[in-house]
């Protein structure tokens, strides 16, 4: 260690604890306001997600003129990072630290990764599009830089969300878990809707300088939000992060996790249901526009209705589960509510009934909210004390991969069906997707049946971290 480092280190030692990012000795009662602050990392995650699936998707194709196939490949890269969430969670569970920290270092690294991806992204995109003088540079530089930027943002947001949810599970008292899950989902939704509106407004009259400002602004906001979110949240517990404890291998730990009762079935149910709800995500607006001939304003309203349904779902689930309801019953209810919702959306095409479409979007939103809340709350409740990170990593890996695949599959299926066999006109592809979603949700309900009949096993992680 050189002299500057040594001097800085002395500085840390003489600072008052007030200025250090640790939580005070673990209090049993963590107030909801602190959990609200913790949930702010979801704002930055939502912002990055919207940037990837919404804003940049459009900007790259329309304003920068990048080929659509290349854009699709680039936007698929962050989904590739999703399955590694289980590994990140495991590494966080088994982190060795003298300080007794195991969540904050990972959230910090994830934050820096997401920041880094966003910081280089605007330049990477402009070079990819051959703007300015970059036409003279070899083509691979733009490709490699853009791919790196998307991978970094994906890896960063998956790490932040996985370990952030694990930290929330660590510190939230058992009886507040449903409210915490509700907070997390509402914050994610607020982050997504809010930043979609702000990005749209800021990029109205597009120019390259604006793109740099907006995306780098998002990068800085990521750091600010995440630091506010994790400041003095994690209590230090050096005993749990001792250097000399036995660390199982990932395979060992994973097998132990799956051996615990119906863990695998829970993941399968989660995957099927998530695909079921995600396939319509990018289709709702074009369905309204293309088939029901709605204006852009009305189709935007559809998405808002869907989001509002989601809020209703989260609120209902928080209230019922907060009173001690069964989380899996709640998820099953979500799937059961989603089925009539999709039938209503599909029926809106032959009946030419925009009102039915709005009502269907609301019902699907509620169903998706109940399902998401139910599965996450169940994951938190069942997570073994020593494997909280891995359990939430597995939940996130399955959920995010399924959502990404579902969204892509929905778009591809519609296009293929509409060009191969448009027996019902433009509606054919959409109706096929809605039909498959209904079937997937039915399959989810069937697979869930044994989970409901066994009821909830006794809760294991009752005591918060000491």
């Amino acid at each position: 260690m050189n002299r500057t480092s040594q001097r800085l280190m002395r500085g840390w030692l003489s600072l008052g604890p007030r200025f250090l990012p640790f939580a005070d000795a673990a209090s049993r009662e963590v107030p909801l306001s602190r959990l609200l602050r913790l949930s702010m990392f979801q704002l930055s995650v939502g912002m990055a997600l919207v940037l990837l699936v919404g804003t940049l998707n459009r900007v790259m194709i329309v304003e920068l003129g990048v080929p659509a196939s290349l854009v699709a490949i680039m936007l698929a890269l962050p989904v590739l990072a999703a399955p590694f969430r289980a590994l990140v969670g495991f590494r966080s569970d088994t982190h060795k630290s003298l300080l007794g920290w195991r969540r904050v270092p990972f959230i910090w690294m994830g934050t820096m990764t997401q920041f880094g991806g966003l910081a280089i992204m605007p330049f990477a995109l402009l070079v990819l599009a051959g703007a300015g003088e970059s036409g003279n540079a070899p083509l691979w530089i733009g490709h490699a830089a853009a791919a790196l930027a998307f991978l970094l943002v994906g890896a960063g947001l998956h790490t932040v969300q996985t370990v952030g949810l694990a930290l929330a599970t660590d510190i939230a008292p058992e009886d507040k878990q449903p409210q915490v899950v509700g907070l997390m989902y509402v914050m994610l939704l607020v982050g997504m809707v809010g930043s979609a509106l702000v990005f749209g407004w800021l990029l109205q009259d597009f120019n390259p300088g604006k793109l740099v400002q907006v995306i780098q602004g998002a990068a800085v906001l990521t750091i600010i939000l995440n630091i506010i979110s994790l400041w003095q949240q994690e209590p230090r517990n050096p005993d749990a992060t001792r250097f000399d404890r036995r660390i199982p291998s990932f395979a060992e730990s994973w097998n132990a996790f799956l051996a615990d009762g119906p863990a695998l079935r829970r993941l399968v149910v989660l995957g099927a249901g998530s695909i079921g709800f995600a396939m319509q995500d990018v289709l709702l607006e074009p369905f309204g526009g293309e088939v029901l001939k709605l204006s852009v304003a009305s189709t935007t309203w559809l998405t808002a209705t869907l989001a509002f349904g989601g809020l209703l779902g989260f609120a209902t689930a928080s209230r019922i589960l907060g009173r001690g309801g069964d989380a899996f019953r709640m998820a099953a209810m979500g799937a059961a509510v989603g089925i009539p919702g999709f039938l209503m959306i599909a029926a809106a095409a032959p009946l030419f009934a925009p009102m039915l479409l709005s009502a269907g979007a609301l019902v699907v939103g509620i169903g998706g909210g109940l399902f998401g809340h139910g599965t996450l709350t169940a994951t938190m409740r069942h997570a073994p004390r020593e494997q909280i990170g891995m359990a939430l990593g597995a939940w996130g890996a399955v959920q995010a991969t399924a959502a990404g695949l579902g969204m892509a599959a929905g778009g591809v299926m519609r296009d293929v069906m509409n060009s191969a066999a448009p027996v019902l006109g433009r509606a054919t592809g959409y109706l096929l997707v809605y039909g498959i979603e209904v079937l997937l949700l039915l399959a989810t309900l069937l697979a869930m049946w044994p989970l409901l009949r066994h009821g909830e096993p006794p809760v294991r992680n009752a005591a918060p971290a000491e």
Binding site: M1, S5, L8, M9, R10, W12, L13, S14, L15, G16, P17, L20, S97, L98, L99, P105, W108, M109, M112, T113, F115, G116, A119, I120, F123, A124, L126, V127, A131, G132, E133, S134, A137, I141, A145
Partner: protein
Amino acid sequence: MPSDPDKVFPTGLTVGQAEELHSYLINGTRSFFMISALAHILAYILTPWLK
């Protein structure tokens, strides 16, 4: 200042713990510089300055 690895300083941290905290800061700074170097290279490809 004597460095006794087990001495607890006013923060409640030992030397080892302060070193660990410091390492997180240094890693963050290193990655920050790598990111900014990369961003500068890309920006230079886009609009070369000093020409």
